[in-house]
Symmetry: D2
Subunit: 347 residues, 4 copies
């Protein structure tokens, strides 16, 4: 029985953690903290948990956290870093869904997140929790930084191409589309139904925090330095990210659609949560809604000698809480797919 | 291991059956039929099942059906009645999600469904599969008629009031709102996204097939004859039914909100899938999305001396496939909640 | 040329006023105030007005307001009452879209709006701006209180029945469904896309501010006192209200569907913005999206001897800004339909 | 008074033509044809037109078409070509919203539209109705081929870059996102609300009919041959296209964001329906919903030395019927903006 604590469980990634962990017989949710909701029963706040979870929210400084085997942070950025060191000292393992430990270059992190990092010395020991790349390191990790939603979809789409050295790494384009839940459960005018529905727009074109995270991850597998144009879009739906990725074939190389298909199928053979679709089948975000899968298709545009990859995830599952649980499973030596085999809700 | 067959599994109730049954260790899905898709792999047709179910669609007359312990019909109306008799003769138990065996008055059924019933003699032995009312009969049933989606939400809301004789049974109003999946997966212009989104309308005001089914069920528990105005509405969302029910308190009686709350809480005490909300809490359909729960609240309008009940279900789960599985669990002596404890997907 | 001022034009009713008034050759928009946006160009705040309106927001105390022929208040409740008296003293006519002058019973108003009224003496001279009832009074009014969105749809649906004395006025039910824009442009968690989409719920069942306003209006045309159960619902769409109204036929009276149809057609003959649909046709809110029409159908439920009326408006047009402009047209002796003949945007 | 006929007015572009033309005092809609709806009153079929248009649908071969000054075809592809020659012979001018006369290379057209062209000799005289490029030719045109929706948004976004020779024309990428109304009003399963809502997907990756049309148009203004990767996506909304365009700066050239902004502002100076947004402002499709505008922003990605253009239109207005009316205005010597100055409906 793994004793679990969750810090900041009132947002969408928090409730998704509860949906995934509550039914498990091998997990005991011991403590859930929330500054505002201290004392309130979790099931009174999240109506979908009525009858499933009988536990009140605790104060953020609950001593029960020290008794846990693992603590998840589902907090905004720049919160976890203040209390993670003490938890680690108590021997608790930590899975952080925020960005605090994702970026190895501290100065770069501080520039994008506009604050000083309070424990930069921990960052180098944090493991970036993308199991398809870091599975072995995750097993032993005391501190896992769960990748962001866009970075998950985009890295999984580009990695096989870069590993094979097939494409020019300095001309990558990621045109990504996200549902509104990616913005979290904040009362902000832009995300009101009346503002966000029945419309699509790009945002963050001049720079997005996930840009350095994506490049850091891709540089790990690329021979030459990665340069990326990243255009995030807001789509009028709740869940889902679709990343449409464009990579020009290296001058002098020639590829075929069949080769590309094999590279992806081979590259992800055995991966339980990366599903390379058969040639000619394209992913839709609804096919992964509520599931931990990343669906990928690859096509080749002869017109411009460009590889086009489509990569779809549920931003709250494989893009956040599902991936966090996948990391926990690996860290504790469980079957990696435990509790993550739910079928997407369709329609 | 229960051997299961599914007839007509290409619509929304069919895919929902597959979502609920595929993960179960105590159920073996042996045969899924479809006239159009014979030979196609199920997971190629339903992308959310990729990797979960390795089975092709069979022809509708598959002899494998006879080897099943139970066969579900997820067919349009007036289909099941043609082959159910032979299956029953082979000793297969049948759970019919269509309307063929719901209405005891054959003439009434034929009037609403505009065709002759091909096996009227079987109707009287069919059990109406609303477990909260018919649990004992369901245990032994060879043939279960799963209630319609509106009838489930509406009956569960009115029953405690009628059982107690608190309200005038001849002035009931059910103002019901349904998501578009209630119309099934038919390529009909009215249900195109561009026709159905961003709008609400009533329909079937002059008569709806669920009207006689609702009245039949309510008359079972009411001392005096039920008369009902039923107004269904189409809501721009995929899943969910919210029934807003109005029942005038009987002349001469007086009730309080507190009494009403107790009547519902007592009436549904121990029911695993009827959740009477605390006083002051109102249901939203999203709180039951993907779950088998019916959430109910009861309030009292002093202005007009009227009880107002709100009843919410997921039309594809408690209103169809989940309830069908609940019936199967009862019929085969399993824990009634097996495979039905999934938490609603929120947001 | 009518000189117009608009106070508080940053919400949805404000922008809708601008959409309706900007194209008019007979109206000059002289001043638009906003505390937060003072100095900002209106077209920079509302992208749909780019190129249509070259005017900055002014401070709320702009002296230009006194130079206007008419000033619209598109403010939250309990704001207009503080400055309306001075404007009226300056000879400016006022059209208030908020609730400040709608309720004649000051104590009742103060109970519902939870504040003291600052100019109760003005309320009795304010004209309730429902043109179908108060057209003559509106012509001469210095101060018009524009009806709320629910009250508009519900009153127009019940009025012909009550005028004819056909129904029991003490058992009325209004089951009303509204799009999310009815909640205004406030950054409130409940109205986030991720909270409000793909779900329907009732709210305000224990009491809603529009209840006394509706009853006040209906009592004007009813012989006997009106008692009403009013259940508002939140629907996952931007615009539109559909009110489903239930009124029991008076004991001893008998009616036919044909009579009811005639009563409504005769009652609204000549009304430019009330469209009684042909028998058998039911309204959908999308049919009035962006238009100033109220579409009404009437049917008779023989089962329970109840008249069922369906009444649809766009809550931001006939339910707010369009009706405000209709009032302005009447007050200034213009053709009542001027600038309000736009066709609903479909799909 | 311009006498107008509309052929095939039962789809979304047809009803949008009616919304735009019905209110005009300088246009008389004389005949609207529909094979299926012959004899039905238009306002009974399109509820938003009730009270606005009193005309029945005529048979497709109505002789009244010959009396018109101009006839619009709002028909599926490969319909107009059969009757356009006779209308032109009668002296009627024709504005075709379908693809029949868009592609000058007949073999290419026949390959994409999978049928023989019945009047190839007319194609070379047809004018491609993109006013920003072909305004002078449109004035005299007897036959105008209205551009497709994607081609309109994409050409307007790329043209200034290609005219200036700034970008490598052989590495263009158009990642385009469309609302569902782009698929027309066909009862097809894929476009059901339950299939298309709450999801995004790419389609037509292996080839889309608009690809040759876009390239033909861009080649007119490009020095060197255009090569384009075009990825259309289906977005869960009704109206709107957002095209995100990527063009690599030519090797050896250097550009700045300021230069790019000037190039677009100068390039579209005086264009009534192309709105180049200020630097830093990005378009959203809702800002042009119901309006004839194309909103464009341009940014420069230094990382990959790529120009990123965002171009937004309402696919049914500037992408179809609005542009058709704009062509009519030009052809008949009217003010180009007549009847097209409607403000977008927001929210």
């Amino acid at each position: 029985m793994i004793k679990v604590g969750i810090i900041g469980a009132t947002g969408y990634t928090g409730i998704e953690l509860l949906r995934l962990l509550t039914p498990r017989a091998d997990v005991e949710i011991c403590v859930i903290t929330s500054r505002e909701l201290q004392g309130v029963r979790v099931q009174d706040h999240f109506p979908n948990l009525r009858g499933h979870l009988d536990l009140p929210f605790s104060a953020p400084d609950s001593q029960q956290l020290n008794q846990c085997d693992v603590v998840f942070y589902a907090t905004p950025h720049a919160v976890a870093m203040h209390t993670v060191p003490a938890l680690l000292d108590s021997g608790v393992r930590v899975i952080d869904l925020s960005a605090d430990f994702r970026i190895q270059d501290i100065a770069l992190w501080e520039q994008w997140y506009k604050t000083s990092h309070s424990c930069p010395e921990l960052v180098k020991d944090a493991v970036y929790g993308l199991p398809e790349v870091q599975r072995e390191q995750i097993r032993q990790a005391a501190l896992v930084a769960v990748p962001g939603c866009y970075p998950t979809a985009i890295q999984l789409g580009f990695i096989p191409l870069l590993e094979q050295g097939l494409v020019s790494s300095d001309r990558l384009i990621a045109d990504a589309k996200s549902g509104v839940s990616g913005a979290g459960r904040k009362a902000v005018e832009d995300y009101l139904l009346c503002e966000a529905t029945e419309s699509i727009k790009a945002y963050g074109v001049s720079g997005h925090r996930h840009h350095p995270e994506i490049c850091q991850g891709l540089n790990l597998v690329s021979e030459s330095a990665v340069k990326l144009t990243f255009t995030p879009h807001l789509v009028p739906m709740v869940r889902g990210i679709l990343a449409t990725l464009y990579a020009p074939v290296k001058p002098g190389l020639s590829v075929t659609a069949k080769q590309l298909q094999s590279i992806f199928e081979d590259g992800y053979a055995g991966e339980p949560f990366v599903d390379v679709l058969p040639a000619g089948v394209l992913p839709a975000t609804r096919d992964v809604k509520g599931s931990n899968k990343c669906e990928i298709s690859v096509t080749y545009s002869t017109d411009t000698d460009t590889v086009v990859v489509l990569s779809a995830v549920d931003n709250l599952v494989k893009g956040a809480s599902g991936q966090a649980v996948q990391n926990m499973n690996i860290m504790f030596g469980l079957q990696e797919t435990t509790g993550l085999e739910g079928i997407a809700l369709l329609p």
